[in-house]
Symmetry: C2
Subunit: 346 residues, 2 copies
DNA sequence: ATGAAAGCGCTAACAA
DNA sequence: TTGTTAGCGCTTTCAT
């Protein structure tokens, strides 16, 4: 048996190991169309033949070939999802929302990871489109010009997710990152903080973080505060980033009252640094952030942060696409909102 | 323009928005076969015609239809990946290894999430096989009988990843979890700990964790130690789980010297609880774990743990499948190993 | 180096 | 309710 397998799995055939519609048709003594109808749950088939067909399917262990189905009907059941990274838990969480929504509708997610590289994203989008997906979910709102043309030309519904844009290629589901930064600044100013610092990843790469930063800085200035230190590191946001670089940031000025970070991972690392060094938070230095990760809320001091609805945005994105495919009217822009979370670090 | 889009994106056609091979052929005044050859990088085409074809492709913005290609050639460029969850960062990390390996070879990953549910996994595997993937990567080594038949029958290479089995359906890439538990116990015993407790998720659900637990308990017994407390919670492992339930575990006995947890997420939560409550780690209670997450190593006290090579296992799994597809000989069983990490929590 | 014919496995559209 | 015909867009195979 093992030998048969080894021979069969040469990759030379992927016929199926499951036979074809026509074999099922022969076994059940009906036409291929009838089998097709039964398998797709069409109602105009008598109960008798239906049972006969289903029996044949079962005895043959037949699994339909969706490649052929999609080609013939020009309707795929695959949804392309493009995300920048799998290392940052927010994207898997987004993906979880997408897959949950698709699951009940019988769709599959095909994923592509751009690693925050626009060129790579462009290649990826081409590759995805070559599978003629029923829809496309792509993270963020800034893309390679080729991606914009491709996505504009494709007949499939497209959702840009995470950031809010007034001018999406097709649809968009996201939140206003600038506003999230601004809200955070307002809360900190209200608490009396005036001298701020920023710690995070490279802002050219993470455009959403950059928007939050801008909103934060603007509001700080308007509120009479000042940014007196800033440290960005050319690597992806992570707990390790915060843990390793908080010292350097604090060394930039002894007057820092509060640190705003690119996200909860960095903030958690920064907080761990303070805990390890015995630096009093928030008395010596306050920390505020963005994401609302479970991690941040499990810290000895729960983080002050802004919770973004990743899972919900994923679900919503998939829903928008499914709705469109079902001919429903869909809004171009969906503001998924966010929620300020008052923790113990400010 | 926006209107045209809205009309086009009804989901009624997914023809392409990009034309077909035959249109390219007409534009370049060659046969479809020639275009096909150029696009697949076959060498037996003159430089002149090649350029002409490529020009036509560019001006038309043509993107090949891989559904049709895969159907005609019986060769898909999609790899199915089935994982239990996206919430636990180890699976996205595994996935990252897979997508990185696929990327350079031009393959795409189609993912399915079973949510630790064998029934759901069975449905998922059927759905995936209906796309006739070039290969299948599936997490863990225990499956629904239907899954076993399906995977045994499919001509595509199959890799079971994470756990080590001597009898994989086709191939397997993983580590010996029982041994990982045993090694951890040995180290703790060597350090003089004798009274142990366990904190983690439901062991019926997470079979790998269960194997580690068994290895741990066996070794503890053999080494003259004892398990004097155990708390398992019927929810997925998470930082929150450890954070919330560490108190209850410690309440079970005042004599607990060391706590072994289902993984680093739980351990991190447990450690945070101790930090928040001022419980001295490891003096009052030691903590040891499994995973080797960046998070655990960024804690104020780095965790004592066992690092599993998630990313590498992902890469290796994809590599095994690609090798098989290229006709290379591949080992049935690949032990990816693990590494004990001496932290500051023991 | 290039092309023509046939067909992959399925479904739409029409007929009976 | 069931079947027939004609493709979907591509690649294989076999010519030339």
């Amino acid at each position: 048996m093992a030998r048969r397998q080894a021979e069969a799995r040469t990759g030379k055939r992927l016929s199926s190991g499951t036979g074809t519609l026509s074999e099922v048709a022969k076994t059940a003594s009906v036409s291929e169309m009838t089998v097709s109808r039964v398998l797709r749950g069409k109602t105009n088939v008598s109960q008798k033949t239906r049972t006969r067909v289903l029996d044949a399917v079962k005895t043959l262990g037949y699994v339909p070939n969706r490649l052929a189905g999609a080609l013939a009907s020009a309707k795929s059941m695959q949804l392309a999802v493009v995300i920048p990274s799998l290392r940052n838990i927010v994207f898997p969480e987004l993906l979880a929302g997408v897959t949950d929504a698709l699951d009940s509708a019988g769709y599959q997610a095909v994923i592509g990871v751009s690693e925050y590289d626009l060129e790579r994203e462009a290649k990826l989008v081409t590759a995805m489109i070559s599978w003629r997906p029923a829809g496309i979910v792509i993270t963020n709102a800034y893309h390679h010009p080729d991606v914009v043309s491709l996505l504009t030309a494709t007949p499939a519904p497209v959702v840009e997710v995470m950031e809010l844009t007034r001018n999406p290629i097709d649809m968009c589901v996201g939140l206003n990152h600038r506003k999230a930064g601004a809200v955070t600044a307002t809360r900190l100013l209200d608490k009396g903080y005036r001298r701020f610092a920023y710690l995070g990843c490279d802002l050219e790469t993470d455009l959403a973080a950059s928007k939050r930063f801008k909103g934060f800085v603007e509001t700080v200035r308007q509120g009479g505060g000042a940014m007196i230190a800033k440290l960005t590191v050319d690597e992806a946001s992570s707990v390790g980033l915060g843990r390793k670089h908080m010292a350097d940031l604090l060394a930039q000025s002894s007057q820092i009252e509060a640190v705003y970070t690119s996200n909860d991972a960095v903030a958690s690392g920064a907080l761990m640094y303070c805990l390890a060094k015995g630096i009093a938070v928030p008395q010596s230095v306050a920390i505020a952030s963005f994401s609302g990760l479970e991690l941040g809320q499990s810290m000895p001091l729960p983080l002050t942060t802004v919770r973004s609805p990743r899972y919900r945005m994923g679900r919503l994105s998939a829903k928008r696409i499914l709705d469109r495919l079902n001919g429903k009217k869909t809004p171009r822009v969906t503001d998924a909102g966010f929620e300020f979370v008052e923790g113990a670090t400010t």
